[in-house]
């Protein structure tokens, strides 16, 4: 799944990589850059907000080719150094247009093909321009063409733990993105490799969910495999133990069950409301004739030959 998104077999308009301090998504983003560069179909715009461009170029193959464009939005991102050089400190800072659209508009690349935009981190953009503006720009980048440039894919990185109001902002980003890759640290079943939880929304509307572990080699090539959850052999036993622990007799300090003798004693006890049946004698009929009774001394069945 991860490699098919990387190679472009699975079309995805906006890929959003979410990482945290536990596991950085930077190597994965670099792999996305490498794949986009190697495809050579489109112009690739790499916008560096968080790191100097050198850090991204380092270890990247074929980064000097014509179709690869780096945009440095890291150095002097607010124009402090520039304004000092002009010696107009007191006249206020000329804010550099560091927004996504202005960066792409200022690049003088024209091509008939669509281009791929890769953003090294949305965080500075969100801090300085605000989340809503950043969201709007991403959206218009995907829908409209900028300065004659149509964008076929945007890949961006977001740090979950530095995002202000993450509980509101993250779901919104996820809604906009066609593919969300949540990067997590290794577990037992991933053999020491980082894990990617992928949610991919196909153009038809089908949503795919996968968990994979991936490995990135020195050429920024990604190998990924499905994450198979290791099932411990004692699972069944554990389940029973968990069920047992919820029973009241395991929770209370009182003795709730009966022993053998107690059960016997209970069965022998005759409760006062029960009918006593004397089974030793046979059946008996008591009859007391009253004064008006017509008592027949003779046996009424005398004539019968029994």
């Amino acid at each position: 799944m991860l490699s098919s998104i990387l190679t472009g077999k699975q079309k995805s308009v906006l890929v959003c990589i979410q990482d945290s301090l536990e596991q950085s998504g930077f190597p994965l983003l670099k792999a996305f850059v490498q794949h986009a560069v190697d495809r050579k179909e489109n112009h690739v715009h790499i916008i560096c907000y968080e790191h100097p461009t050198g850090k991204m170029k380092n270890g990247l193959k074929n980064s000097g080719e014509d179709h690869v464009h780096f945009h440095d939005c890291f150095t002097d991102h607010r124009g402090w150094i520039e304004s000092q050089k002009k010696e107009n400190i007191k006249s206020g800072v000329n804010t550099r247009g560091n927004s996504l659209l202005s960066v792409l508009q200022s690049s003088l690349v024209t091509s008939t093909n669509d281009c791929v935009v890769i953003i090294d981190s949305l965080m500075p953009l969100i801090y300085y321009n605000g989340f809503t503006k950043c969201y709007r720009e991403l959206h218009s980048l995907l829908t409209k063409s900028v300065n004659g440039l149509a964008v076929s894919q945007v890949v961006c990185l977001v740090h979950k733990d530095t995002l202000p109001d993450a509980h509101a902002a993250l779901p919104q980003l996820c809604h906009l993105a066609a593919t969300i890759v949540r990067v997590g640290p290794f577990t037992q079943s991933s053999r020491g490799n980082p894990i990617a939880h992928i949610i991919h929304k196909k153009q038809g509307g089908k949503v795919l969910k996968r968990a994979e572990y991936y490995f990135i080699d020195a050429d920024n090539r990604v190998k990924s495999e499905d994450l198979t959850v290791v099932v411990p052999t004692t699972t069944g036993m554990n389940k029973e133990m968990i069920d047992d622990s919820n029973l009241p007799q395991n929770l209370t300090t009182f003795k709730l069950s009966l022993g053998q003798q107690e059960k016997q004693a209970r069965s022998q006890l005759v409760l006062p409301y029960l009918r006593r049946v004397n089974s030793e004698k046979g059946g008996e009929v008591f009859y007391q004739p009253d004064a008006a009774d017509d008592w027949d001394e003779e046996d009424p069945d005398d004539d019968l030959d029994i």
């Binding site: 100097p52 402090w80 740090h159």
Partner: protein, 263 residues
Amino acid sequence: MASSVCSALGTDKENLVGKLIAVEENHGSNGNFVLNCLIAEQIQKGGGVCLVALHNSFGHYHNIGTKLGYNLRQLQEKGRVESIEILKLLNGSLNTAHEDGSEQNILFGSEEDTVRNIFHLIEEKIKKILQNIKPVSLVIDDLSDLLCLGIPLKEVLSLLQYCRTLLDSQPGLSLVVLTHVAEGDEQQNLLTAGLCHVADMTVSICGLKTGQSSDVSGAMKVIHRRWDESAVAHEWNRQNLYHFKLLDRQVKVFAPGTASSFT
């Protein structure tokens, strides 16, 4: 003193030039000793230091320096050490606050101007030392104190980014930044996470969860990040956990469970 900490951090084997070391000081602990050890190592190597003191005064560092075997004030006269004491600047600013437009009044005005002025001050000092000596460490203690001055997170992160720009543009510079994190303080948490995301090495200092101990002062977690290498399993995000004991003239660093009383 410094050698035990530096070997735990791996700074004795690794060249720090061009790197950012983040020191995360969790509430209930004091990470100042890490800064002092790094300063001591830098001076022993023959390098220079630019100290941005927000939390402790320059005198504090001088006093510790005398215990570790160097004299910061003498080094300052020689031009190997520069210091920017924000607390003193703040004091000066308060005194001249009513005189609008004076040179000293750098900490009043819009929030962006404040941070920009601090950056220009740092830049100036760094360039001054780099003319004399290389390598130079820029030590900021502690960045989260700017939040306490009422400067918004966004501006503090801007300052950090500009300092990282210096790292890129001035060869021979390394950056050491300390931040304090109190649990539940949203701003401090965001700042520290933002710092650790871009750091090459994170040193996290925290007290013992179980309380005080006479043998252990706290725990130190060291995380190395290698950006240029690919993500090879454990190697990429290597972690090391140590316990340490602060003594008068030295810091003992040992593996958890091997404190002197146990052995």
